[in-house]
């Protein structure tokens, strides 16, 4: 039986080998038939993607508050755009320019489905993608369903890109700048002694109305070259705006001027509440004199134009005068070369004012390095070697604040710190004897210098805070009542 089966297998073996050899031939046959059927399917599917409904252009206009070379587009989505991207896959934005009497369109960008705004930005003449201002442009938008299936909207135009002289979104900043700039003008005129305060109060509002009117006039003339109608329409608005602005500036200017005048009066002295840090300055200088040790004055890591550093210069002047009076010594290691230069001038002047110009040593104020932690390493070493009686850290500080203050504490120095860097104040508060918090540094500068302009400014700032509080209280009440106009007035749009 077994032999019979074996013989049958032997007979079947050639047949099996033959079938195996023929297998690829059979295998290819269905593939060929499959390709043929797919081609047939493709031919049948092509007409199955109908063109989508076109989008509708709603707005095409120059971008506001810019230097030009930019146009905003907004459109209604194609009704066939269901937000899934299955059918309408995106939108093509085409920009046209007039070339030899015909509009030639160029594809600017393809945005995905669901998007219905686009800002077309270009460069100035000579740029890589020029889009000159004051030139006519036409736009059309195409809803795309497939590479070759798209439906275009109607052509919209012409529109022009133009630049604006004033950023209306920053109007609150302009108002605030004018108000605070008026402070400076008041200080310069009064401190210069060119006019007395009575004349000033009469002239000042007139001067400001004229300045504002001049600025508006220039802008309107420039605007008139672009659009004469706008020029005519803008005059009443500009007049009302300038009068309103002048009244507000006049009110604040009056406050500043009044306080500046009071500082000059012999009987009327401006009151500034005592600050423990201010009182401690003289104490610290006296301590250094008694102990015969130097005073270390650190101006921080700020530049010469930072407000805190400028305030620190004023206090340095006061400290240097007292140091010169008491013939003690002063060390001012500097981080910034420009700060060092200004500090040298301040200390030199202080010595001259105290009648001891010969005692001034230029090496008292010296440059260390502009590397933050190398500077800290140097000042810390100085503290432990020289053991200064008093350390002043007044200005702008960063991560080095605690390193400095902790080392000073270790050296047993009396320490007075002041900065407007909120993140560093906690470290000074825990490690120093006295800390001037934020604006207290500015107040100390005004108080110690005794300058009428600075004291008047301090007073005006206080009344500015009153205005601030009133604005916030009224604004909060209005917001709680659901009226958000105050929020809009104080919103800066960049």
């Amino acid at each position: 039986m077994k032999d019979c089966l074996f013989q049958m297998r032997l007979k079947l073996l050639p047949l099996a080998i033959l079938l195996l050899l023929a297998a690829p031939v059979f295998a290819q046959a269905p593939d060929q038939s499959g390709e043929a059927s797919m081609e047939a399917d493709t031919l049948q599917e092509e007409p199955q993607v109908p063109p989508p409904a076109p989008p509708e252009i709603v707005v095409v206009k120059d971008t506001e508050n810019d230097h030009g070379h930019s146009i905003d587009l907004e459109w209604k989505l194609s009704p066939d755009d269901d937000g899934t991207g299955d059918y309408v896959t995106g939108y093509e934005i085409w920009r046209g320019e007039m070339v030899e009497g015909e509009i030639e369109f160029q594809l600017r960008r393809t945005v995905p489905y669901g998007v219905k705004i686009y800002t077309d930005r270009g460069d100035t003449d000579g740029g890589a993608d020029p889009m000159p201002n004051d030139k006519d442009y036409w736009y059309k938008i195409a809803a795309v369903a497939d590479e070759d299936v798209r439906t275009e909207s109607e052509v919209y135009g012409p529109v022009q890109a133009t630049g604006e002289w004033f950023h209306t979104g920053k109007a609150p900043v302009a108002v605030a700048v004018l108000i605070f700039a008026s402070f400076s003008v008041a200080f310069v005129i009064v401190a210069g002694g060119q006019i007395d305060m009575k004349q000033f109060f009469v002239m000042w509002p007139i001067i400001f109305v004229l300045i504002i009117w001049l600025v508006l006039l220039i802008s309107l003339i420039v605007g008139a070259s672009v659009n004469g109608l706008w020029f005519l329409l803008a005059i009443p608005g500009a007049f009302v705006g300038s009068v309103g602005l002048a009244i507000s500036i006049g009110a604040i200017g009056f406050l500043v001027g009044w306080f500046v005048r009071r500082t000059k009066g012999e009987d009327a002295k401006l009151y500034v509440r005592p600050l423990s840090g201010i009182n401690a300055v003289d104490e610290a200088i006296g301590r250094a004199t008694e102990m015969g040790k130097p005073i270390l004055y650190v101006l921080g890591l700020g530049t010469a134009s930072d407000i805190a550093t400028i305030c620190s210069f004023t206090i340095l002047g006061r400290v240097a005068r007292r140091v010169a009076d008491h013939q003690s010594s002063l060390m001012v290691p500097c981080y910034d070369p420009i700060v060092m230069t200004v500090a040298q001038e301040v200390v030199k002047n202080a010595y001259a004012e105290s009648g001891r110009p010969d005692a001034y040593d230029e090496d008292q104020v010296f440059f260390v390095t502009q590397s933050q932690f190398a500077y800290v390493a140097a000042v810390n070493g100085m503290m432990l070697r020289e053991l200064p009686a008093s350390n002043f850290y007044l200005g702008i500080f960063y991560a080095e604040s605690l390193l400095l203050a902790e080392t000073g504490s270790l050296a047993g120095s009396i320490q007075i710190a002041g900065t407007d860097q909120v993140a560093q104040l906690p470290f000074f508060i825990v490690a120093c004897d006295y800390t001037l918090i934020g604006e207290e540094l500015y107040a100390a500068s005004a108080y110690l210098s005794g300058e009428p302009t600075l004291l008047g400014s301090l007073k005006a700032e206080d009344w500015g805070k009153v205005i601030f509080i009133l604005l916030v209280v009224v604004g909060v009440i209005a917001a709680t009542a659901g009226w958000d106009q105050f929020i809009q007035w104080t919103t800066v749009r960049l």
């Binding site: 920053k170 407000i307 906690p426 916030v472 104080t490």
Partner: protein
Amino acid sequence: MNPKTIKLIIFIVILTSIVLSVYFVSMDRDSIREGIFVTSAAFLTLFIMSFLYKDNPYYKFAEHLFVGVSAAYWMTMGFWGTMMPNLVAKLWPGAVRGVLPALAEKDASYWFVIPLFLGLVLLMRLSPKGGWISRWALAFIVGTTAGLNLIRYLRSDFIAQVNNTIIPLVDKTEAGISFWGSFSNIFVFIGVLCGLIYFFFSKEHKGFFGGAARIGILVLMLTFGAGFGYTVMARISLLAGRMTYLFGDWLGLIN
């Protein structure tokens, strides 16, 4: 024992440690250069940290090295990062062809004669008689930057502050009035007002005014406390970074 002898022994121990460290790190990394750099960084770190004990010659060495190298580094950076691209390349583009070829092809901008002039004026400080001229450049720098900062500060610290403080005291949501939302808004409102009152310098802090100022300083201290904790955690992460270097990169004890 004689203090000088102790110092000498410490010096010999440190020197030996440095030599051994260079040897072992070089063996480990198959590079003498790596061995020298890793060991230098590790020992300079330890020298700086020795300040925690007290001022010592090793700290002084590290401090002077750090100050000297950083001063030279920033001077070089100032020259190649500011002077050459922002002044020389603007006025004489051809002069930087060998070092900054990308800037050499641009047109000269003669506006930069103004900063050149101001820079030279600043150097007049070195002249015994003409030192006063440098004040003009200083006045320009301080005045211009202060003016530019005025706008920035007014926008961010004044107008934005007013804008962000004008919030409804009652926080209405879709589900009704949110208790915690309203509490938060009221807290912000009162905190800002009391904080401002604390910074009012024209009136002594007495009576109701004093009470409000006290609340103001309380709010400030709460803020500072939170800031302190947050920053201390960041500093601890810096310490962890140094420790990782010492125990990982140098000693190889941790991965």
